[in-house]
């Protein structure tokens, strides 16, 4: 198996990722709509390979407060997946999920809201991984989610460190969901090195 190298990702691989992102985000939007009992649209996701020093800017600055939901991916591939949501979007989603109940101080989340956010992250990443699983025929399972609310830079240091072992870039899929308001979310899937090969092979990109 050829060594996978993030510094030399070709267009085909990008197209494949964009397509997975598209289908995954579509599934995620459907799940969100069911959860919220309302219509949720989404924009075509943006797949980007970013230098470490660009990743903060891509999310409105390293100090932008985000909710980060992190899960470990297991099965035929291993690695992790992260879903990030801007704090304001997180508040909108949680408040909708909880029936428009005004809870907690602005900028703060109650225990119940945090657990609702975890559930949202679980559903969204689950939908994404399901698409990946059905496209590749690989068995992909996820751990229970862990959540943190902090600066984008600090949250992103986790997947960046994982990518950091492979190169100096991070692969990110940005998805905007539109409900009444636009919700900005970001997926970061970090397969470990052997899993890249498995994924690309299963997708027919690599021999």
């Amino acid at each position: 198996m050829a060594d996978f190298d993030l510094e030399h990702v070709d267009d085909v691989y990008f197209d494949v990722l964009r397509e997975i992102g598209n289908i995954g985000a579509g599934n995620a939007a459907t799940s969100l709509a069911q959860m919220l009992s309302s219509k949720v649209d989404m924009k075509v996701p943006k797949v980007e390979l970013l230098d470490f020093n660009q990743i903060g800017d891509a999310m409105g600055g390293e100090e932008q407060i985000m909710a980060g939901i992190y899960l470990v991916v297991e099965g035929d591939i291993s690695g992790s997946i992260m879903f990030l949501l801007e704090e304001a979007s997180a508040h909108v989603l949680v408040s909708k999920l909880m029936g428009g109940m005004e809870t907690g101080e602005p900028g703060q989340f109650s225990e119940m809201e945090l657990s609702a956010l975890k559930e949202i992250g679980n559903i969204i990443t689950g939908a994404y991984l399901n698409s990946l699983s059905s496209l590749t025929g690989l068995t992909i399972t996820e751990s229970i989610p862990d959540l943190t609310i902090d600066m984008a830079g600090a949250i992103l240091s986790v997947p960046a460190t994982e990518f950091g072992m492979l190169g100096d870039k991070l692969l990110m899929i940005q998805t905007a969901f539109t409900d009444d308001v636009e919700l900005n979310g970001y997926f970061i899937l970090v397969p470990d090195l052997p899993s890249y090969g498995k994924l690309l092979k299963a997708l027919g990109v690599m021999q």
């Binding site: 470490f52 291993s78 609310i149 830079g153 949250i155 240091s157 994982e162 950091g164």
Partner: protein, 161 residues
């Protein structure tokens, strides 16, 4: 305070005595601030992984604790600073999520902090203060003239070490 010099992730820069230098949103990464006590020339490195020798793709020296600290010191010396007069302050190395069970990444924050300390010790540079570990992100600002290392975290008052 004027504009601060900005250091990105896996990056390092020097800072003249009268200016300030910052790196935003340190998570498991460590911000290593070094100053020459006499000339007040300073520098800041934002390191991400503990050990360059275990990674195949290790061309970016600023990414690793061992090579990043060494490179920062080398650049400071090239700019006229003396190693014997250097002191350091460090911050970061948090564990952002309670589980990170990817085997090679277990406690990467903690291991980053250890690796930075080891390298500084090897180079004979004393650590004057640290704010490391726990589970939250930190933005740091370093002012070589005073040696102040200001640490900002979400929902916490700024802290100077």
């Amino acid at each position: 305070m004027g504009n601060l010099i900005k250091v990105g992730m896996a990056d390092l820069k020097l800072c003249p005595p009268d200016e300030g230098i910052t790196t935003l949103g340190l998570g498991s990464c460590v911000g290593v601030a070094i100053v020459d006590k006499v000339s007040r020339q300073g520098g800041l490195a934002h390191v991400m992984l503990p050990d360059s020798t275990t990674i195949r793709n290790n061309t970016n020296v600023a990414k690793f604790a061992d090579t990043g600290v060494a490179e920062l010191v080398r650049q400071m010396e090239a700019a006229g600073a003396k190693r014997s007069r250097m002191v350091a302050k460090i911050a970061g190395g948090a564990q952002m999520f309670s589980f990170q069970n990817n085997s090679s990444l277990v406690k990467v924050g903690e291991r980053n902090v250890e690796a930075v300390k080891k390298k500084l010790k090897e180079l004979g540079i004393p650590i004057l203060a640290e704010d490391t570990g726990l589970n939250f992100g930190r933005t740091v600002e370093f002012f070589p003239k005073t040696g102040d290392y200001v640490i900002k975290a979400v929902g916490k008052p700024p802290k100077t070490i």
